[in-house]
């Protein structure tokens, strides 16, 4: 999954990226124009200079020197202006493209369904939104500037050289062809080597990572020396490979020098002959020598651009993948805007994550839940509990069969209406940075303080909130790191309650809350929100045994759906769990952290 972006064609990816330029098309167009202008101005200077030498100095014409001098100044200042404009527009285009890409990705991510989200890891998405975009931004700025600058320098300088002396200009053509071929071969060999080096590099880093996170194991088994030896071997491998790769790479510079020097010597010697034969002037020879550096440097620059661009290729593809990802659950047009009641019905529901239908997470689920009922769900890890409840609010769509809420297929509801009516407290829940009020109001944007307190009371969160120095105005740190697990769960329940849902789903949401509080919360539910259908997934029997009915899941199938007493009597799996928990209680007393 992680590397699926590799299948995207580069051309297509570039098209997608550039289609996001939007209002920055103008800047993207103006940058190369400015660059070309700058290059022309810059290239004119040596040409003008030859005139100063030949006519001015050669013929002793001071007026000519002043005249041409002014032209040269104008050229330099013109170049300055164009260069500054190029800088302005390229940074605008780069930063702007980055902005638009981030926006496009982020907006699309917001339409993602759960299975879309599952496809990418969190850190993967964050990297695409940050590092990858920065890579593209840098590469784009570079391309806008250098990609125009280098070739146009090449073209203009060679063109002017030809205008001075076609015979001598041929020297440059030969040099450019030679160097071009050389750089091409160098690059293709070097990239292959470096790819290998970087793979080894990753391995080395992984071994460090393993040692850092597993340091206790290393120390417990007294394996420090063993690890040191292993690391040394890996590091030496890298050394050897790096040296090999770089040995090839560094031939570039001397060959470049060799070419430049050969050009200078050839031009000097041939030029001298032409001058003596009166076919060339001294000033022209000097201009030609000045172009030599420009031409060959621009070739080097071009090769650097290629490296830069090919390095950002993966980023381009990764960003494209996110922008193009199609949300697989969308709200229907003219969806039903009203959820009648809290009944839930599963009809012949099968479900599989991904495309592999043979690996079913749920098979043949048929259940009817009445409005206002309290339903417990219990089963082993991986038995399909979370999957089952996530079909109710269309976090995933059933692969086969249908799910009905309030007597209507969930697919016919307006998605927002459905999700407002079905309030889910996720197993892996998150709080956001902001005050407790801010967090609670996720459930209801305009909730009054009293409403917030009410919800907190019902979820037994008020007791610890009141003990906090700032009460409901206490700031929650990013990721809720300053509240304990049990506190976070209770806040999340309060947040879900504020929606006043028709159906409330708790997915293992009281696992870190002690049993007494858990019982108190459930009692509150029965008393204060009797109309709401409550579906409670739990590991602990004590959390579900007072439910009206309990669903026992085993390998994605319903093994039993009955009251606690009946299940203890009739259902082997349930009895097993029940007995193991009553005779083998979990001593990790979780209430202690409240």
């Amino acid at each position: 999954m992680e590397k699926s972006y590799e299948n995207i064609k580069t051309g297509h990816a570039l098209k997608v990226i550039f289609s996001r330029l939007g209002e920055f098309k103008r800047a993207s167009f103006l940058t190369p124009v400015a660059m070309v202008f700058e290059v022309i101005m810059e290239m004119l200077i040596p040409l003008l200079m030859s005139s100063i030498i030949d006519k001015g100095v050669g013929e002793g014409d001071m007026g000519h020197i002043y005249k041409i001098g002014i032209f040269m100044m104008i050229a330099a200042l013109g170049g300055l202006f164009a260069g500054a404009m190029g800088a302005k527009y390229s940074s605008m285009a780069g930063a702007g493209l980055a902005r638009n890409l981030r926006k496009a990705m982020y907006e699309n991510i917001q339409t993602f369904s759960f299975s879309n989200i599952d496809k990418y890891s969190t850190s993967g998405l964050v990297t695409r939104l940050t590092t990858d975009v920065t890579n593209i931004q840098n590469a784009y700025q570079m391309v806008l500037r250098a990609c125009m600058r280098a070739p146009s320098t090449l073209v203009v300088a060679i063109f002017l050289s030809f205008s001075i002396s076609p015979r001598l200009a041929n020297v440059y053509v030969i040099a450019v062809i030679f160097l071009g071929i050389f750089i091409f071969f160098l690059m293709s060999r070097v990239t292959k080597y470096f790819q290998k080096v970087f793979e080894k590099y990753d391995e080395l880093n992984e071994s460090v990572e393993e040692n850092v996170s597993g340091i206790r194991v290393v120390k417990a088994f007294v394996r420090e020396d063993y690890e040191k030896k292993r690391f040394s071997r890996a590091a030496e491998n890298i050394y050897n490979m790096f040296v090999k790769a770089e040995d090839i790479m560094v031939t570039g510079m001397p060959v470049m020098q060799l070419t430049i020097y050969s050009c200078i010597l050839a031009i000097s010697y041939l030029g001298a002959r032409l001058i003596v034969n009166n076919e060339l002037t001294t000033g022209q020879l000097m201009s030609l020598l000045a172009y030599c550096l420009n031409i060959l440097m621009s070739l080097m620059m071009l090769s650097m651009v290629f490296v830069m661009v090919s390095m950002s290729q993966a980023s381009v593809k990764r960003v494209t993948e996110v922008i193009e990802e199609k949300a697989d659950i969308v709200s229907p047009e003219n969806g039903i805007k009203d959820v009648k009641d809290g009944t839930v019905c599963f009809r012949n529901v099968h479900f599989a994550y991904g495309d592999d239908v043979t690996k079913r997470a749920l098979s043949d689920i048929n259940i009817e839940i009445r409005s206002g009922e309290t339903i417990g769900i219990i089963g082993r890890t991986g038995s399909g509990k979370s999957t089952l409840v996530s079909l109710i609010s269309r976090l995933y769509d059933a692969t086969i069969g249908e799910v009905l809420v309030g007597g209507v297929n969930v697919k016919d509801y307006d998605l927002e209406v459905l999700r407002d009516a079905v309030s889910v407290v996720l197993q892996k829940n998150e709080l956001f940075s902001g005050t407790i009020y801010d967090n609670l109001r996720w459930g209801k944007e305009d909730a009054t303080e009293e409403e917030c307190r009410e919800a907190a009371r019902l979820s037994c969160a008020d007791e610890f909130i009141n003990r906090m120095s700032d009460g409901y105005n206490t700031r929650i740190e990013q990721g809720g790191s300053n509240v304990s697990g049990g506190q976070r769960q209770r806040l999340c329940i309060a947040r879900a309650l504020l929606k006043s849902p028709k159906i409330l789903v708790l997915d293992d949401s009281t696992s870190a809350v002690d049993t007494a509080t858990d019982a108190k919360i459930q009692k509150g539910f029965r008393e204060f929100i009797p109309e709401t259908t409550k579906i409670i997934i739990a590991q602990r029997i004590s959390s579900v045994q007072n439910a009206d009915r309990i669903i026992v899941l085993e390998n994605g199938e319903i093994s039993g759906f009955d009251t606690h007493e009946n299940l203890v009597r009739d259902n082997e799996i349930y009895r097993d769990i029940y007995e193991s928990q009553t005779s083998d209680a979990d001593f990790d007393e979780k209430g202690g952290e409240a």
Binding site: E38, E42, I45, M49, I53, V57, G58, I65, G69, G79, L80, G83, A84, A87, S91, A95, A98, R102, Y106, I117, L125, V126, L204, N205, E206, S207, S213, G214, R216, V218, A220, F221, E224, S232, A235, Y239, F242, D247, Y261, L265, A272, R273, I275, T282, L285, L293, L395, L415, R419, S423, L426, E430, G479, R495, Q539, E589, K590, G591, G592, A594
Partner: protein, 641 residues
């Protein structure tokens, strides 16, 4: 505890490339160069000479332009004497110097690869060797991301500096000096003009850099803020969906995104504009020299010939370029020094102290006396080498462990364990029970000296554990942690981690003992299955079984176990439990218990609360007390609040 510290650290661990500041750049640079010179002194001398030769070869070539025009072309033009022989000879000499220059460039670059990569190799090794010896505490207070980035980012900036920036800076400086000298020889007034223009360039660059620096900082702040926001929202993306919060999330994002765009645009603009401004100011300098030089040549002022002017103009160009480069390279050297600082900080950390002199050895009975042996006898003994006279005593390893009034805190003055007194007789099973944060894990970490106690004594077979060599102490204590940590390698390798010289049969036997054999057998490649990324392909339960097998193959005399919590399902848990049970047989065992069955048949149960032992005794004894343990057992505990 330790776990929590790490989490908080990781949260703010990400470095956000704000302005780099190094406290003592001179000292750091010296130390870094000390590293280089220690191993590559001769190499470096050759490199400097080669760079020097390379630059001189270039300069002589440029100087030749003057001779070409003044001594050959102009006289030939005047004389109508077309003998190119002398010119050819002169050029052959130049070509020879050029070739020497090219050769020395090639040589110094190849040497530099070895110097930079070699230094890096040594730094990496030294860092790792140092790191392996650091106390566990170091890893608690430093986020893993930060430690990793020393190996990756910081080491990489060092590589850049050593292999690129330094030689380039050196060559730039030599170029500047030799060019300046050549310019002075050619024409003093024009040199003054050139230097003046360079001063202008530096002034403008400085102004622009500081301007862009301000914006750059603002940009990095915004970028940090946006990244933080993205991180938080993407983390909570499922919550966003559940609460229909998408529109609001987009709205907030756009505001931050636009803010970043504005700052990024300004920051880039000012830093990018430096290049064309410098380049064109260089051109202005060139133009001014051409005009002034032209006028001087016409008026024959200070004897400036056409050839000299031509040569000078080339030098003018050559002079401006390296000055731009030097400022860039200085920047990257400073960045590298910041990296070097972190590298050296890691190397300067104080390693775990180990003053132990009692060793754990295999023993064999001979006439009722313990005798040391190299073979694996299954019997262990403590080898006590007396410091005074070097005489050696052997004592049987029995597995009696006692705590006498032990206090401990992760930080000074903040004790988390108070006055712990407990005793495990050989072969006994001791269970720790209590709520999260009561100090169960901490106690076990003191036995194997992951941390050192603040006060009191811990004795192992009546020997103070401070006197036992740390490695031997840890070898005598098998450990199975809750978070397993497997290493890249085959399953057999991972089990063999417990004892490197274990035979294949012993590995399989250990796997059988710990109940891991069953699932390993079913893997397509069996024991040769390669694990990567901490055994990510295995389930939590399977990884736990491997960890037990790993401890089993070591066959340690005593054990520290951390039982699995609810993260694995009941069936697997039973299998894991069985594995642990068979491992515990006959060994002194400390177990952080979560399961009643483990607790029940322990010889002693220690109930901890807030770092103190509040109850201890057997299951029956504690039940009779009708206190905390009774509450836990009956499940009627009142809310901890």
């Amino acid at each position: 505890m330790a776990e929590k510290v790490r989490e908080i650290k990781a949260g703010r661990g990400a470095r956000r490339g704000v302005k780099v500041k190094v406290k003592n750049p001179g000292k750091l640079f010296k130390r870094l160069m000390g590293y280089v010179m220690k191993y590559y002194g001769v190499h470096m001398i050759i490199v400097v000479i080669c760079i020097f030769v390379g630059v001189l070869a270039n300069v002589q070539g440029t100087l030749f332009t003057q001779k070409l025009i003044d001594d050959y072309i102009l006289p030939m033009l005047a004389d109508k004497n077309h003998d190119f022989g002398p010119l050819f000879n002169a050029m052959a000499r130049v070509a020879l110097f050029y070739l020497i220059g090219v050769a020395s460039t090639l040589i110094y670059q190849r040497i530099m690869i070895r110097v930079s990569q070699g230094t890096l190799l040594r730094i990496r090794k030294d860092m790792f060797i140092k790191m392996e010896d650091l106390p566990v505490k170091y890893f608690d207070i430093h986020s893993h991301g930060d430690i990793m980035s020393v190996y990756t980012n910081d080491a990489d900036t060092l590589r850049q500096m050593l292999s690129q920036s330094m030689p380039q800076a050196l060559s730039s400086i030599i170029t500047i000096v030799s060019t300046a000298v050549s310019m002075v020889i050619l024409s003093i007034p024009l040199t003054i003009l050139t230097v003046f223009m360079v001063a202008v360039m530096l002034l403008v660059t400085g102004k622009l850099s500081s301007l862009s620096g301000t914006y750059y900082k603002a940009q990095q702040d915004r970028l940090g803020a946006l990244n933080g926001y993205i991180q938080e929202m993407i983390n909570g993306q499922k919550v966003v969906k559940v609460f229909n919060h998408e529109d609001k999330a987009v709205e907030e994002f756009i505001a931050r995104n636009d803010e970043l765009y504005k700052n990024a645009n300004s920051a880039n603009k000012f830093s990018m504009i430096i290049f064309p401004i410098n380049a064109q100011l260089g051109n202005v300098s060139y133009v001014l020299c051409a005009i002034v030089g032209g006028l001087m040549a016409i008026n024959n002022f200070t004897g400036l010939t056409l050839g000299r002017l031509a040569s000078f103009l080339t030098f003018n160009k050559n002079f401006n370029m390296p000055i731009n480069q030097v400022s860039m390279q200085i920047n990257s050297v400073i960045m590298a020094l910041a990296g070097a600082e972190r590298v050296f900080n890691l190397m300067d950390e104080v390693p775990e102290e180990d003053n132990g002199y009692v060793n754990l050895v295999n023993i064999r009975e001979e006439n009722g006396e313990p005798v040391e042996t190299k073979e694996h006898t299954g019997q262990w003994g403590w080898k006590h080498t007396h410091q005074a006279d070097g005489s050696v005593d052997y004592v049987h390893q029995r597995g009696k462990i006692e705590f006498l009034g032990v206090d401990f805190g992760y930080e000074e003055n903040k004790l988390v364990l108070h006055d712990i007194v407990l005793k495990a007789e050989p072969g006994q099973k001791i269970a720790f029970v209590g709520s999260t944060g009561a100090g169960k894990t901490t106690i076990t970490n003191l036995i194997n000296r992951f941390y050192d106690i603040a006060d009191g004594k811990i004795r192992y077979d009546d020997i103070n554990i401070n006197k036992i060599k740390k490695g031997d102490l840890r070898r005598s204590l098998g450990m199975v942690l809750q978070d397993t940590h497997l290493f890249t390698g085959s399953i057999a390798d991972n089990i063999r981690y417990g004892r490197l010289d274990a035979t294949d049969e012993e590995v399989v036997a250990a796997a059988k003992l710990s109940n891991a054999h069953e699932f390993i057998r079913l893997l397509p490649n069996g024991y040769d299955t390669i694990l990567t990324h901490d055994g990510a392909a295995l389930s939590q339960g399977q990884r736990q079984l491997l960890a037990i097998a790993r401890a089993a193959v070591a066959d340690p005399p005593a054990l520290i176990l951390d039982e699995a919590t609810s993260s694995i399902d009941t069936r697997t848990e039973k299998i894991v439990q069985k594995g642990m049970d068979s491992l515990m047989k006959g060994r002194t065992t400390f177990v952080i218990a979560h399961r009643l069955s483990t607790v029940k048949n322990s010889d002693k149960i220690i109930v901890l609360e807030q770092g103190r032992i509040i109850e201890s005794g057997t299951h029956e004894e504690l039940l009779k007390l009708k206190k905390k343990y009774y509450q836990l057992y009956t499940g009627n505990q009142i809310s901890g609040a």
